[in-house]
Symmetry: C2
DNA sequence: TAATCAATTAAAACATTGGTTAAATATATA
DNA sequence: TATATATTTAACCAATGTTTTAATTGATTA
């Protein structure tokens, strides 16, 4: 199941922090690593967890590997889980469906 | 940080399953345990993780301990995280604020 | 009170996660 | 080609999480 990997990926402060950084701009692996007090290999593994979960994408650009967030996947998973647990939120749910329908506009 | 505990609590299939069960109705610890192929103590631990994270509440009722979900906490945490990472979703964000304002109506 | 049922806590075994350093791979450049 | 930089993979260790069985606590009832 994919929700498994996503929740597991989110269950880590450094990984959530990486997502927050990437939500503002795309960054190379090295740029990300430089923002943490942690070795590059450790960051590389966190990035691979995030990528396996489908929360980020990577692209090699020369020597560098650029990472970029996959917002749709994150939003869709969390909102669909939220509404599975809490189907009460009517208007919010409607908006969520609308958003999912025009996913590509992000 | 409380988001830490919440994401850690959600990073477990059995715990998410427990939340799903509790989203439909309140259940005793034993009723929950009977739905899993797992010992009662194991379930008890999962319940305590969920309760520490503030995702469920418990109340002793005679011999039994009844568990009930705390939907607001879950929804608020996940939506606020979602919008921290993805502030693009304008209308959804507005609805979320509205919902937070009338929290008690759940 | 004694016996029973429900639930949690304790202790131990086992698996998983998260970090390190060292080695390997990929690209750029002198 | 040789060297340097960026990143990932491999091997390893420490810490944490998950489960089990056994013991303990709380509440009901015969």
């Amino acid at each position: 199941m994919t929700a498994d990997r996503i929740f597991e990926a989110l269950a880590s402060q450094p990984r959530r922090k990486i997502l927050a950084y990437l939500s503002a701009q795309e960054l190379t692996a090295g740029e990300i690593a430089s923002r943490f007090d942690m070795s590059a290999p450790a960051i590389s593994r966190h990035l691979s967890v995030l990528e396996t979960a489908g929360l980020v994408n990577s692209e090699r650009r020369g020597q560098y590997v650029v990472y970029r967030i996959n917002k749709d996947n994150l939003v869709n998973t969390l909102t669909s889980f939220t509404f599975e647990i809490c189907p009460v939120a009517g208007p919010l749910k409607r908006e969520s469906r609308k958003r999912a329908a025009m996913k590509q506009s992000t």
